[in-house]
């Protein structure tokens, strides 16, 4: 019971942190203290946070490595942007259209996650990682050759070029191959982004606390033991994987409705993006949702804050990444850090150890 209360309090701190950050940013924005560059970064930042939290479900709670998270985001982004384009003129209420778009993004990415998860979740470790990476690239490639147009006769689909759609003169091209979708209504705002982060956190934190969540974590800790007490491995693996994918789809909706032209480039939906999200998760602490949020914020803002250094900023980013990983994870560095901490504060040593012990449990 005490443990439960501590967890509850922990979750409240996470929610409070997000809301507090939102209020501070809003105040700063009213006061005109935030540059337009940073303002443009706020909605993508919300999308990255949702992505990091959702990937943490796969990596931290289920304990499987996924390198194709951007693929699910891509599915959600394109499915919802396609819907918004189709109904731009028929549904006039922005909030209604965006709500439906969110549901479409959530469901489509979830279904794809389920379909992908069924065959591949029986692979282990690095094999699963490479298959998810491959899947992300496939999604990106297919969307890059997909052409969809609409005219009075209905929808036309082609994977060759825009001409072979055979549209009537009144038709319009909705998905234009590598040019993607242009003119998506800009429905995403910072406020909506924060609300979606809170909903995502609510879903994920409740999942961890629930019976299903405990079943998923038991699979992570020991598959054979979990199976022998009657836990349905396939069901719970698929559940966690699909939820993770569906939430990534929501991030995709947020991301796509912030852009005027949505293209599936290697930069935004390629494996580099998947790896960037994984970096957020690992640096923030595997299985630790609050850590994911903090590291997503820091690592997104870091290159922007270093913009003054121009050419050197990505170099510094890389060095910071390596040094932080070495400092956080190398056994020698950990020992040194513990020694330092115990010198500074004698009483706090125990808690440090307790926290690190918890981390180690979470990584098997």
């Amino acid at each position: 019971m005490k443990n439960y209360l501590v967890k509850q309090k922990d979750n409240l701190i996470t929610f409070g942190m997000v809301i507090g950050a939102y209020i501070i940013v809003e105040i700063l924005m009213q006061a005109g203290l935030i540059s337009s560059l940073l303002k443009g970064l706020l909605v993508p930042l919300c999308a990255y946070i949702i992505l990091a939290v959702s990937l943490n479900v796969t990596v931290g709670i289920l304990g499987e490595l996924s390198l194709g998270h951007a693929g699910f985001m891509c599915v959600g982004a394109f499915a919802s942007a396609f819907f918004s384009q189709l109904t731009k003129n028929s549904i006039s209420a922005d909030w209604l259209r965006f709500t439906i778009a969110l549901i479409i993004g959530f469901v489509s990415a979830g279904i794809i996650g389920f379909l992908i998860g069924m065959p591949v979740l029986r692979l282990k470790g690095d094999y699963l990682a490479i298959v998810t990476l491959a899947f992300g690239e496939i999604i990106k490639n297919i969307i890059n050759v997909l052409y969809v147009g609409r005219d009075s006769k209905g929808l036309h689909i082609s994977i060759k070029d825009a001409v072979s759609l055979g549209l009537e003169p009144d038709g319009e091209i909705i998905i234009n191959g590598a040019q993607g979708i242009t003119g998506t209504p800009k429905d995403s705002t910072f406020t909506i982004g924060v609300v979606l982060i809170l909903i995502t956190l609510f879903i994920v934190l409740n999942l961890i606390k629930s019976r299903d969540g405990r079943a998923i974590m038991s699979i992570r800790d020991n598959v054979i033991a979990a199976e022998s007490v009657g836990i349905n491995i396939t069901k719970y693996k698929l559940l966690a994987f699909s939820i993770s994918a569906a939430l990534a789809g929501v991030a995709g909706v947020l991301y796509s409705h912030n852009l005027n032209s949505l293209m599936a480039t290697p930069k935004n939906f390629g494996y580099n993006m998947s790896i960037m999200i994984l970096v957020f998760v690992v640096l923030g602490g595997i299985g630790n949702m609050r850590g994911s949020i903090i590291s997503a914020v820091i690592l997104t803002l870091l290159p922007e804050l270093l913009r003054g250094l121009n050419d050197y900023r990505m170099l510094i980013y890389a060095i910071v990444l390596i040094v932080m990983m070495l400092f956080n994870w190398a056994p020698a560095a950990r020992e040194y850090r513990d020694k330092l901490l115990s010198k500074i504060n004698f009483g706090k040593k125990k808690t440090v150890e307790a926290v690190e012990g918890g981390n180690e449990d979470g990584n098997n």
Binding site: D126, N144, I322, W329, A330
Partner: protein
């Protein structure tokens, strides 16, 4: 005739993938880590040749030797500085992320020194093309050299691993680090040696790759690196013949789907074949099936 031509091109590209995949597979076998920076070592090797030959106007052979030497040193350094401290870390993800960091680092160092402009790499192969079947079939010199290199490296490496003492030590370390140490094998030195061999092969692969596809940018190594990694998994990661088979197959599939189906979808097809293979045979074509014990 065009089919045979495509097939030969596929085998040539596959040979490059196979040589890169060897680096991945050996490092994975011994250190149980995915060395994401491997692809960028290739790119650094190419820039070394480019600088020496095109900028400094020195002879080609010097460039090739220096490229191999520098890449070997680079590989050993990366392992010692970035990977070794994390070998005992509680999470295997830590070293993966560090490898990604190293990959970013190498790309950005190259970007700073050489700029983002595409450099045109002059071929290291001086052999004339061979005409067969009365001129209907032309095989480029680069293609022949690449395939020959791959076969020679494959044989040499298999002999080295199975016959030499250092090679046996590598096998022992990949089997069980603790036991190998008790038998008097220097584990750190053996892992360094593996990285050295992998990185020198990366330099060779880079030269061959850029001789056939001469556009050199700081991101040249990243996609072939990923593909070679796929090839290693395809053939069964940790297995040297597996890397060979996986690489060649991947090259053939890529070139054939580029020529006959769609050049834009070629990558998607390659990855789809990988998924199908892994779903049917979860440890790759030549991978060992390890029974999990309770």
């Amino acid at each position: 005739m065009s089919f045979i031509n495509y097939l030969i091109n596929g085998i040539s590209l596959g040979s490059v993938y196979a040589i890169i995949a060897l680096g991945y597979t050996m490092v994975y076998g011994i250190a149980k880590m995915l060395n994401f920076a491997h692809g960028d070592v290739i790119m650094i090797g190419c820039y070394v040749v480019f600088t020496i030959v095109s900028t400094l106007n020195l002879p080609m052979w010097l460039g090739m030797i220096l490229s191999v030497v520098l890449c070997t040193i680079l590989g050993i350094t990366i392992e010692a500085v970035a990977y070794r401290p994390l070998r005992q870390a509680s999470s295997s993800l830590a070293v993966l992320i560090t490898a990604i960091g190293v990959s970013y680092l190498l790309q950005n160092v190259a970007l700073l020194i050489f700029g983002a402009n595409t450099k045109s790499f002059s071929s290291v192969v001086t052999m004339d093309p061979i005409k067969l079947a009365g001129g209907a079939l032309t095989i480029k010199g680069e293609t022949i050299v690449t395939i020959a290199c791959c076969i020679v490296i494959m044989i040499a490496l298999t002999l080295f691993v199975n016959k030499s003492k250092a090679g046996q030590a590598m096998l022992a370390v990949s089997e069980d680090k603790g036991a190998a140490q008790l038998m008097g094998i220097n584990v750190n030195a053996t892992i360094s040696l593996t990285f050295a061999i992998g990185s020198s092969l990366a330099a060779v692969a880079g030269m061959l790759l850029c001789s056939s596809y001469p556009a050199l940018t700081p991101y040249t190594g990243s996609m072939p690196g990923i593909k070679a990694f796929v090839a290693a998994v395809f053939g069964g990661i940790g297995s040297i013949p597996g890397a060979f088979i996986g690489g060649i197959l991947l090259g053939i599939i890529e070139i054939l789907s580029k020529s006959y189906i769609s050049s834009q979808l070629a990558d998607a097809i390659v990855f789809m074949v990988l998924i199908v293979v892994l779903v049917v045979k979860p440890t790759g074509i030549l991978g060992k099936k390890i029974q999990e014990k309770v």
